[in-house]
């Protein structure tokens, strides 16, 4: 089960955050910070799955954005990688050649997508 989807850039700014589990605002902030730290420091040669608290984070980097998915331990990682790619393709299709600015200015459209 997907717990949340985060889109963050290299500096740590969250471009999109969609939570599927109830979390307080302060917790959300903490989570985003931790995930960012976790994901940004990893070498590109490393695996795309990291353990995070009691779940897993599956992430992929597209240009300057990190797409992170937090899932349960038992989920199939490769399938979720494909999921991320599918999402990126949808965004691309929706905005025709999407870039980060598109996401910034059209957040309300993006929020409805996932």
């Amino acid at each position: 089960m997907i717990r949340f989807i985060l889109l963050q850039n290299r500096q740590g700014k969250t471009r999109l955050a969609k939570y599927y589990v109830p979390l307080e605002d302060s917790e959300k902030h903490k989570v985003e910070y931790e995930v960012h730290r976790l994901v940004v420091n990893r070498d590109p040669k490393f695996t795309n799955f990291v353990e995070f608290r009691t779940h897993k984070v599956i992430y992929r980097r597209y240009a300057g954005l990190f797409f992170s998915l937090c899932v349960d331990i038992t989920d199939n990682e490769l399938a979720y990688l494909e999921c991320i790619h599918l999402f990126v393709e949808i965004l691309d299709h929706f905005f025709s050649n999407v870039c980060e600015l598109d996401l910034v200015f059209n957040f309300h459209k993006v929020l409805v997508l996932p």
Partner: protein
């Protein structure tokens, strides 16, 4: 006027981005604007303001709960854009606790019924995000209708919402389950199937048993579907179902193996592997196939796949270790992989591979790795070595001498932070394994002699263990004088007080030993037989004795004024003893004076102490304290009640655990217990009751009873002064023992004989802390009951419940009575209370779609207590449901 100058969302975003600093000021300004604008009645203004607020909320975490009502107003606008903004705001900000959440129920219902597909979608999505019990209950009928809608996207979303409904309002199962199962069977539209499978996957992971009857449908999908996502989800479901039903496992092995070999998608293959390894592990051929595939994964270049291969091996390791051994070299190679994830996995696998024959080699390799890697991973390696080797009381270790020297080596590794664990193991081994004590003492001596180690704070625990071991088994030391020197060297001032106290105590023991052996050899007595040969090797000369005594004066003298209570106490013990002995000894050391009597006195004193110190301490069982028989005169609870009265709330509640029932209570009482191992009950309970008295009288001065080392020692200073000094000193050692090993104690147990291995003392029980029984996780009982009843219930119950629904106007009691009445009769009763023509058609339904009523009836049978509360819950939807034509519910 306002709307002319209202800033749009874009403006805000641009403004925010252009802010260099002072973002918060900008944000608060915008927030003020928004507050003003949002109150306007114009829909456009309001929705733009709401949109801006939503943006601020998601990016800057601005609280927007105050705008809840405005959001509700927004969704009531006919204009779709505004509605969308409203729904977005609601989905983002509403939580279960939002007070106005009930107000949207009507609006949602309107939107769900609307003809415009997108509105319906909006409403459905919103419901899935924020649905709580009330909303779900109210809107179940609408969702139910939508599940049969002709528009596929709507149907798909409705199915998705069903998951949330089930989660929040289990009774929805009655209504919607049948349609859900039907959608499962409709293979014509893949999106529907994937949605349904997704729902079932989630449901099954919570409670697989309830969905076992649906296995045939899942099987069909497994065999027919070509969609990888669906297949993965179905496999997940089977992972949960297969362990429950062995016939099912047999049936699905074939298709899964086929899938695994044919598919090109790595994700699907991995899922097949995972399914086989977790739940079909008995089918050897399947496992072999899976192992083959894992091989392929492991040699792939993509680190993701390698990681997954290792992960799969880890799953299979407990049962089929051969698979792991096949890939041994690869696993060891991965230890040096730069990726920490891969390293961890391979380390775990290596630990699984360890067995008696290869433990030496593997540990050597690992220690090599540890020295070369960075601190964190080094400690992880050491930790795993320690825990694996000490598993089950050192089961896999045959050669303890080697293991003890390995522990010494590990202590010397630069980054080692495992001091406490190593210390525990050293002492534990010392107590349990008699034969290895010389080796232990040798290792300890090496550690003690090295002055450089004293400066390393992580090693202090190990040094304290080494000191204790050397003191306790001092008879194995070759050169006790040297030991004393190292124990008393000036650099020991770097050590923390607790460790220093141990050092002092060991020095005391060593001193006593030296004196004893000197006196014995001087007088040529034939006293104790054991270890005489060793003693004679030690060459204690009169000079060395004098030297020792001088050394003690020099080193320990200043400590008698130290601030630490424990050090002071022990220093004084030693000094007191030396003062006693010195005049007597110095006479006997000069051969001219023949004061035989004084020599005898001296040797008597020394022998007394030596005897005390030579009592062996063995490992103690956790439950030992509970087994101590309570002597007659002692009434435990009375004491404690008085304690309460005396001290009131100043003592923490845990002080009541002074009682001797639990095994986790190490107070001064147990330390005094340990001082007289042979005679347990009588004197010890006296002393403990004395202690209890003392505590009662001076309760305020006692520290709260925790498992605190300092506390132990402080507590130890309070025992009644009538105890022999020896008792106190020995109990100090026992303090260390209690501190370092486990609680309570037991008379020595005979150990099991292990072939060719040195004897390891094991306790039949109580070696390990009892694992508290895990409270089974609270499952969603109501949901699984509901589902089970739907799938397995009988038809007659359907009648009765429909009748019940028809009678919902009656009050609860009457209904209950009716049902009880019906219960007592046989299942197929025709109760002509209310004639409904549809009953016969209902009866013809032979498939598992019996829902609603069956489950309801059985539920009532089982959960009589819950029934009343359910009544309250059920009545409203029953009201609603009864309005729709009855066939909808049943067919």
């Amino acid at each position: 006027m306002d709307s002319l100058f209202q800033r749009s969302l874009d403006d805000i975003i641009k403004g925010l981005r252009h802010q260099q600093a002072g973002e918060s000021a900008f944000v608060s300004k915008v927030l003020e604007e928004v507050r003003r604008e949002i109150k306007s009645t114009d829909s456009h203004t309001k929705s733009t303001a709401l949109q801006k607020l939503t943006y601020l909320h998601s990016i800057c975490f601005v609280d927007m709960s105050w705008a809840a009502f405005h959001a509700i107003e927004c969704i009531s606008y006919p204009n779709f854009t505004h509605k969308k903004v409203g729904y977005l705001a609601i989905s983002q900000s509403f939580q279960e606790s939002t007070p106005v959440i009930l107000l949207i129920s009507n609006q949602l219902r309107k939107d769900l019924k609307s003809n415009v597909e997108v509105e319906v979608s909006l409403a459905l999505e919103c419901l899935s995000r924020i649905g709580n019990l009330d909303l779900c209950r109210d809107l179940t009928p609408e969702v139910f209708t939508l599940m049969a809608s002709s528009r596929i996207p709507v149907r798909k979303k409705a199915i998705g919402v069903v998951l949330r409904l089930f989660g929040k309002y289990p009774d929805a199962v009655r209504v919607c389950f049948k349609r859900l199962v039907e959608s499962l069977e409709s293979s014509d539209s893949p999106p529907i199937v994937s949605a349904v499978i997704g729902v079932f996957c989630e449901l099954a992971s919570k409670d697989p048993k309830a969905y076992l009857p649906l296995a045939p449908e899942f099987y069909k999908i497994l065999v027919d579907s070509r969609n990888n996502w669906v297949l993965i989800k179905v496999l997940k479901i089977f992972t949960k179902l297969a362990p429950l039903e062995p016939r099912l496992a047999k049936k699905i092995v074939e298709p899964i193996c086929e899938l695994m070999s044919k598919t090109g998608a790595k994700s699907l293959m991995f899922e097949c592997i995972r399914t086989i390894l977790t739940s079909l592990a008995e089918h050897e051929s399947a496992v072999k196939l899976a192992a083959g595939r894992i091989n392929e994964l492991l040699i792939d270049e993509d680190p993701n796949l390698r990681y997954l291969g290792l992960h799969a091996l880890a799953i299979v390791a407990p049962k089929h270790i051969w698979a792991v051994l096949e890939n041994k070299e690869f696993v060891i190679k991965s230890l040096s992989d730069p990726d920490p994830n891969i390293k961890l996995e391979s380390l775990r696998l290596v630990m699984e591979m360890v067995s008696e024959s290869n433990v030496v080699e593997i540990c050597r390799v690992l220690v090599n790795y540890a020295t070369k890697s960075e601190p964190e991973f080094c400690n992880v390696i050491l930790g795993s070595i320690l825990s694996t080797c000490s598993n089950n009381v050192y089961e896999i270790i045959v050669d303890f001498d080697w293991y003890v020297s390995l522990l010494g080596e590990m202590s010397r590794i630069q980054h080692c932070q495992k001091g406490e664990e190593i210390e525990n193991q050293l002492i534990d081994i010392g107590m349990r394994v008699q034969d290895v004590r010389p080796e232990l003492v040798r290792v300890g001596r090496d550690l003690l002699m090295d002055p450089a180690l004293l400066g390393n704070p992580f090693l202090h625990r190990i040094l304290s263990a080494a000191a204790w071991l050397c003191g306790e088994y001092v008879e194995f030391i070759r050169n006790p004088v040297e030991l004393m020197e190292s124990l008393l060297q000036p650099r020991t001032s770097l050590l923390p007080p607790s460790v220093r106290a141990v050092y002092l105590e060991s020095a005391f023991k060593a001193l006593v030993f030296c004196l004893h052996s000197y006196l014995k050899s001087a007088h040529g007595e034939n006293g104790e037989a054991s270890g005489t040969t060793l003693i004679q090797e030690n060459h204690i000369t009169p000079d060395s004795v004098l030297h020792l005594l001088n050394l003690i004066d020099m080193a320990v003298g200043p400590l008698s004024g130290s601030y630490d209570v424990e050090i002071q106490e022990r220093a004084r013990n030693i000094l007191g003893f030396t003062e006693l002995i010195k005049p007597v000894l110095s006479d006997s050391l000069h051969p001219q004076d023949e004061r035989h009597k004084q020599q005898v006195e001296a040797s008597k004193m020394v022998r007394l102490l030596h005897d005390t110190f030579s009592d062996e301490l063995g490992p103690v069982s956790m439950s030992a304290q509970g087994r101590v028989p309570v002597p007659d005169g002692l009434v435990l609870h009375e004491n404690l009640a008085d304690l309460e009265a005396v001290c009131g709330s100043s003592l923490p509640a845990s002080s009541a655990t002074i009682s001797f029932e639990g095994s986790h209570n190490v107070e001064g009482a147990t330390s005094i217990f340990i001082s007289d191992q042979k005679e347990e009950s009588e004197p010890s309970s006296e002393s403990t009751s004395l202690l209890a008295e003392h505590r009662k009288r001076h309760g305020l001065y006692y520290l709260p009873s925790e498992k605190n080392t300092e506390h132990h020692e402080a507590n130890n200073d309070y025992p009644p002064a009538n105890e022999l000094k020896s008792g106190v000193t020995v109990s100090n050692d026992a303090q260390d023992l209690a501190k370092l090993a486990e609680q309570s104690f037991l008379p020595k147990r005979k150990s099991k004989q292990v072939k060719a291995r040195p004897v390891v003392v094991k306790l039949d029980e109580g070696d390990v802390l009892p694992i508290s029984s895990k409270i089974p996780q609270a499952k969603d009982d109501s949901l699984s009951e509901a589902v089970r009843d739907v799938l397995l219930g009988n038809k007659a119950a359907a009648d009765s419940v429909i009748r019940k629904k028809g009678k919902e106007k009656l009050n609860a009691k009457e209904q209950e009575d009716d049902l009880d009445h019906m219960d007592s009769q046989s299942g197929t009763v025709q109760n002509p209370v209310k004639e409904r023509s549809k009953r016969s058609s209902r009866k013809q339904n032979a498939d598992e779609g019996d829902h609603g009523g069956d489950k309801g009836k059985q539920k009532r049978r089982h959960r009589h207590g819950k029934h009343r509360t359910r009544e309250g819950v059920q009545n409203p939807p029953a009201n609603v449901i009864s309005q729709t034509p009855v066939p909808d519910l049943l067919l």
